[in-house]
């Protein structure tokens, strides 16, 4: 029973990992940029939610109404003012600039908030559990987060493949210079993509803040989990990313059952195994 419970927990946290990954793979898909600061931006969103809930007296869920647009605006500005300048054939500039950004965000948060662990309180829902099958209990909050993660990924799929917006993203990703011939200002398209990515990051950040303790230094681990979910699941497929996140979550849960110190390591080992045996991932988009 303990094992079954662990695996169920792993699946649920996999949804959160998939959310970490969704923003990352969106950006890579549209503009071939990997944002090293991605995890730190998730943590930034968590702190933003902290401030918003403290000053406006909102509960975490309602704080999304402020945090999501705020992060979207930050994403738009970041892309427009800084990251657009780094795009090009050379991969060094975007990598180093986003790395520098990661360091800046971590240390900025450290200066503003100190290294103390924080957590957002979501109230009663945090302790509510449900017995789905005899002997297996799941928390209501993790279930809710998983459902929202799946909904967001589904929404992103719809956006990308059924809307004019998504069409513009895909065209710009295929051929930016010809996209300009269609009347698309690629600088704006990239900025909107980053805004969307950070909107997803905002949700991930609030979920993270409610679920566990956070401090300025935990960003890189979130980046790594998101990255591992993308690689395990396969590049170019959002549903693959969801699968990757779930596999990662389950691997970590199994590792934790063996030995608490093995939790994160188990995830890394599964990632390395996939890399060794099937580097294109489990469900890559067939191009």
């Amino acid at each position: 029973m303990q094992w079954a419970n662990a695996i169920v927990q792993g699946v649920l946290i996999g949804g959160l990992y998939a959310l970490f990954a969704a923003g990352l793979s969106l950006i890579f898909g549209v503009m071939r940029l990997v944002n090293i600061a991605h995890g730190d931006l998730i943590v930034l969103a968590a702190y933003l939610a902290l401030v918003v809930t403290a000053t406006l007296g909102l509960d975490p869920l309602t704080s999304l109404v402020v945090v999501v647009p705020a992060m979207a605006v930050i994403g738009y500005a970041l892309q427009r003012l800084v990251l657009n300048r780094t795009l090009g054939d050379d991969l060094l500039p975007p990598l180093l600039v986003t790395f520098g950004l990661s360091v800046i965000i971590q240390n900025g948060l450290l200066e503003l908030f100190s290294a103390d662990s924080r957590k957002l309180q979501a109230g009663a829902i945090e302790v509510q559990t449900m017995e789905i099958v005899s002997g297996i209990w799941i928390g209501l909050l993790p279930l809710l987060q998983f459902a929202v993660a799946v909904a967001i990924i589904g929404g992103l799929q719809l956006l990308f493949y059924r809307s004019a917006f998504g069409r513009a993203f895909r065209a710009t990703s295929d051929d930016p210079s010809v996209a300009e011939l269609m009347g698309l200002d690629t600088r704006r398209v990239f900025a909107l993509a980053m805004a969307l990515s950070l909107a997803v990051v905002a949700v991930a950040g609030v979920f993270l803040a409610v679920r566990a303790n956070f401090d300025p230094a935990i960003g890189p681990a979130r980046l790594i989990y998101g990255f591992e979910a993308v690689i395990i699941g396969g590049l170019g497929s959002l549903w693959g990313t969801l699968a990757g996140g779930i596999i990662l979550g389950v691997a970590q849960a199994i590792g934790a059952q063996i030995d608490p110190g093995w939790q994160v390591l188990a995830g890394h080992l599964v990632f390395l195994a996939i890399l060794a045996v099937r580097p294109q991932g489990l469900f890559p988009k067939v191009q």
């Binding site: 895909r170 210079s177 011939l181 269609m182 009347g183 200002d185 690629t186």
Partner: protein, 238 residues
């Protein structure tokens, strides 16, 4: 008292275009009147595509002017030029590979400029595209892809359509079909610049011709009146 003459649809004057340190166009001038079909011919590397890219806004000229109905346009980037009614069918088709045929057409209409061309009108023009509208663009034959490329450009309802090497890599019979659709396009009020290596097609389709040679205009005139000898001389520079 005579009215001031109406400005041409497109007026290109003394264009100098560089790729880095390499000069591709030397003082090129060209004019297109409303409703005209103008051909630009020349050997490989003569600068034909460079000229179209400059007009379309993909390349900024170092010197010279481009005016659209009298208004300066040489500083406008490509997405701005589309807004102003200049659309380019790029060399080699350059369709969006992860989009379907219909999606490629729809993205051409992204801006929503009003005009005669809509999805259904494009399908009227190229019926074979309607049957294949859900297929991924790269799965079509060369000729069909060219039709998609033209249709995509038409969806932005331009006043000036720039066609870069429509015949590239296509069998002669397909090329004939493609060129057969041009009169219908002109009939809707568009003006055309066609860049071609296929001189016969170009002279058949166009009313006026420019011949480029190593970045300069070597010959200019009415298609009917130009002699073969004159064209050869201008084309090859002998």
């Amino acid at each position: 008292m005579a009215d001031a003459p109406r400005p041409p649809l497109l007026d290109v004057r003394d264009l100098d275009v560089f790729y880095g340190d390499f000069q591709a166009l030397f003082g090129v001038s060209l004019r297109v009147e409303p409703g005209e079909v103008v051909a630009v011919i020349g050997a490989n590397g003569a600068g034909k595509s460079t000229l179209l890219k400059s007009i379309a806004g993909q390349l900024a000229p170092r010197r010279g002017e481009i005016a659209l109905v009298g208004t300066p346009a040489h500083r406008a980037p490509a997405f701005e030029m589309v807004r102003r009614g200049v659309a380019l069918v790029p060399e080699g088709r350059r369709l969006f590979s992860s989009l379907s045929v219909e999606e490629n057409l729809l993205i051409g209409g992204q801006l929503g400029r009003p005009g005669p061309f809509s999805l259904s009108r494009v399908y009227d023009l190229f019926p074979v595209l309607y049957e294949r509208r859900r297929q991924p663009a790269p799965s079509l034959s060369g000729g069909q892809q060219q039709m998609v490329a033209i249709g995509r450009a038409l969806m932005s309802n331009p006043t000036l359509l720039l066609c870069d090497e429509l015949s590239l890599g296509l069998a002669p019979i397909i090329v004939r079909d493609i060129y057969a659709s041009l009169p219908a396009i002109v009939g809707e009020g568009l003006s055309l610049i066609i860049v071609e290596q296929d001189i016969v097609q170009a002279l058949n389709a166009a009313s006026r011709v420019y011949c480029l040679q190593e970045g300069r205009v070597a010959l200019e005139g009415e298609a009917r009146t130009l002699t073969k000898a004159a064209i050869s001389a201008a084309y090859f520079g002998v």
